[in-house]
């Protein structure tokens, strides 16, 4: 499996966010997106997740053009953004039930990658930020898609849980999946094969029609 982006650019509200971005990711790779704040890390992830239309360029998965093909994206891509998609008044169990209902798959409580057993009956608003993030990340193992798009997954996680996430990603690597992570730290640094994608602001700005 491979994911190729060729000369991608994205426009948001009339402004070019990034341009001429190319990458090639094989199965088993973890790709880290780097760049200063506001350089479009989240935008790139949301673009790959199909929220934002590609302005120019092409994304292809397994040599098939999937630019703006949301049906294929839904079946292969998993996206988790800054927010954890949690409802305050549900318990953790209900929240997981809800996600299971949406994706029609089950959370594996035996391996319990995100250590949720202890807090299952807690209401979400009673959880700490780190616990909320864990619950949010647990959607990873419910959906079980091939391409993971993670936006700052380690925010407010402690070292133990970061290592859990690492383990999960390593498992995912072994299964031949792809992960694209926007993060300030490369947290799987032992492996030299990680691809690092640096986003720079576009150089030659398009001429604005109003000027």
């Amino acid at each position: 499996m491979n994911l190729i982006g060729s000369s991608l650019s994205c426009k948001r509200d009339g402004k070019l966010i990034f341009s001429d971005l190319s990458f090639k990711i094989k199965s088993g790779d973890v790709c880290f997106i780097k760049g200063p704040n506001g350089s479009g890390k989240s935008t790139l992830l949301r673009l790959l997740a199909g929220f934002i239309k590609v302005w120019t360029g092409k994304v292809s998965l397994n040599n098939e053009d999937i630019t703006n093909r949301n049906d294929i994206i839904y079946n292969n891509f998993f996206y988790i953004g800054h927010s954890n998609s949690l409802k305050n008044y549900l318990t953790v169990k209900q929240q997981i039930d809800f996600w299971e209902g949406i994706s029609e798959k089950k959370y594996n409580f035996e391996s319990d990658s995100f250590n949720l057993k202890k807090i299952l009956n807690r209401r979400i608003y009673e959880c700490s930020e780190g616990q909320k993030r864990r619950v949010g990340l647990s959607r990873l193992s419910i959906d079980d898609k091939k391409v993971l798009l993670l936006d700052e997954p380690t925010t407010s996680l402690d070292i133990e849980n970061v290592s859990r996430l690492k383990n999960y990603l390593k498992d995912h690597q072994k299964k031949g999946g792809i992960a694209i992570v926007a993060s300030h730290e490369t947290f799987i640094s032992s492996n030299n094969q990680d691809i690092i994608l640096t986003l720079n602001p576009p150089k030659n700005r398009e001429r604005d029609p109003f000027l």
Partner: protein
């Protein structure tokens, strides 16, 4: 659907909208009692205004919560189309805000001078028309998505669009209290609300997608 209902129930929307309705009716009733001429016509107008106002009550939270906490992202990425979700959300909204009010109407209007038979007929008219109100107001909710304090904006945008349904509804209820029945008007009202129900999820989904580009 099950979860949506659960979410809505957890928000205690039912209690809010029904108590708002009752308070509105009582206040206007007391106000009119000072003048000393509350007829069943004014009562009807109050009921229609109250029902359209209360269907706008919790509309702002309909997409806003999901938008803020990212659940809307999930919906858009899931296999279910966004139109279906809007449809389900509007129906749940109708069940939680308008249905209890409609059930209340005979209880309220009977002591205030409309015969029970007529008030049940009026309830029937409302059953036909109020779903459309819930559906139309989703457009307003989608328009002001992500806007702080959009509640006022929603009412500015949406109350005028309630007009056709309210005009027909009022007129039919007036006819009913006069014991005349205009089947044609009933049919047109029903057709109107069906058209609204059929079209609005698509418009709303288009508007929601604007927030994602």
């Amino acid at each position: 659907m099950k979860y949506e209902l659960l979410f809505a129930l957890a928000n205690k929307g039912i209690l809010l909208s029904t108590s708002f309705f009752i308070i509105l009716i009582l206040i206007v009733g007391i106000g009119f009692s000072q003048i000393g001429e509350s007829s069943e016509k004014t009562l009807l107008a109050i009921i229609w205004i109250a029902i359209s106002l209360s269907s706008l009550l919790s509309i702002k939270t309909m997409f806003q919560e999901d938008f803020d906490d990212g659940t809307l992202d999930l919906y858009i990425l899931s296999n279910t189309s966004i139109e279906t979700i809007i449809f389900i959300k509007s129906i749940v909204h109708w069940i939680t805000t308008n249905l209890p009010i409609i059930i209340l109407i005979p209880l309220i209007s009977f002591p205030l001078g409309i015969t029970i038979y007529h008030s049940i007929l009026i309830c029937f008219v409302m059953l036909l028309s109020t779903p459309a109100l819930s559906f139309i107001s989703t457009i307003g909710a989608a328009l002001t998505l992500g806007e702080k304090g959009g509640n006022l904006l929603i009412s500015i945008f949406i109350l005028p669009t309630f007009l056709p349904i309210i005009i027909f509804g009022m007129k039919i209820s007036l006819l009913i209290t006069n014991s005349t029945y205009d089947i044609m008007a009933h049919l047109i009202l029903f057709a109107l609300s069906l058209i609204c129900i059929a079209i609005t999820p698509f418009i709303t989904s288009l508007i929601i997608k604007i927030h994602y580009t």
